[in-house]
Symmetry: C2
């Protein structure tokens, strides 16, 4: 495939920022569906696709989310047009006969709850990363967060399912006014080796 141009690299990586103040501009449901058409095409182990996404848009659902958040994450989340609960489905092996019909991949997980959980967490998190970059690719801005009460989110939004929350992601069109300069980044030599 051909490389992306500098404008696209800026939009995805180099100039994109984590946002916490939002323009008064909605994100419609068709944009969320389009986002999913991108995310689902990116790779997961044996195409296991364990991520599940709860898109919180309504004021009623937002009000239920608020007490699950750390104080510092409340204002930016309450004002975001959408907050996504990025989840993993611990029952993902049930979908493998459909998603990976070439082998009996479901059997790889039989009686292996720790391996199932690790695979779900790794691959749903990868898909969460794809979600962030896919959102930016569609012109949206992101605000990912780990600061929330996972048990409370699960009890409030996921009861009766096999889904478990992983991290939260505010989505919308960011207002860059309050952004600080970027934090430092590690040097190549500090975190990479070529052998």
């Amino acid at each position: 495939m051909s490389a992306l141009d500098a404008t696209a690299l800026d939009a995805l990586f180099l100039e994109a920022r984590t946002h916490w103040q939002w323009q008064d501009r909605a994100v419609d449901d068709s944009t969320l569906e389009r986002l999913h058409t991108l995310v689902k095409m990116a790779p997961t182990s044996a195409n296991c696709q364990p991520a599940r996404f709860v898109f919180i848009k309504s004021p009623e659902a937002k009000a239920k989310l608020e007490p699950c958040l750390t104080e510092g994450n409340r204002p930016k989340t309450m004002t975001a047009p959408v907050t996504v609960i990025v989840c993993e489905d611990l029952a993902f092996p049930e979908t493998l006969p459909t998603l990976f019909p070439h082998a009996d991949a479901k059997a790889w997980f039989d009686g292996k709850p720790a391996f199932t959980e690790e695979t779900a967490f790794r691959n749903a998190t990868l898909q969460g990363g794809y979600l962030i970059l896919a959102a930016r690719a569609l012109g949206l801005d992101c605000g990912p967060m780990s600061g929330f009460d996972q048990a409370k989110v699960d009890a409030t939004f996921l009861e009766g399912t096999t889904w478990r929350s992983n991290f939260l992601l505010n989505l919308g069109y960011g207002d860059p006014t309050p952004l600080f300069p970027r934090s430092p980044r590690p040097a190549f030599a500090d975190v990479c080796r070529i052998v």
Copy 2:
């Protein structure tokens, strides 16, 4: 930020494929450094940046990797120009005074090995997802893999460090000749909810 055009969405998501046969075309070290300049700009929790990347290029290092792989992953990995060991550094809190100077974020992890490990795994995996899409953005093709002996990779390549392997990623310029049609993807209604 502005949205990407259709060609870029194809290159990142819609037409990109996991590759296992490679053109005879090297990936030079400057491309790996450029890749890191993109990955390090994408978001992690409190800018913790726990991912570490071991780029295996030399025949000697490739030969050490081979016995760590499941049979099915050997030919495609031995012929790939580069295989990345995507790792997390469990000692990442030590870097927080530099990477996140606004708060005493290092203290959040004091005496909390399970929280430290979960944060390392989640954020390094996110960075692994960024790595896949950044590679595609630079015109490279990817082949991510979970089928390997983690303990053996750690003993062979990471001994004496606080790094731990997470997944492997072949990098190069793919030959699409042997690719099968794509596996099925889940429908929006199967894996998403809007509330």
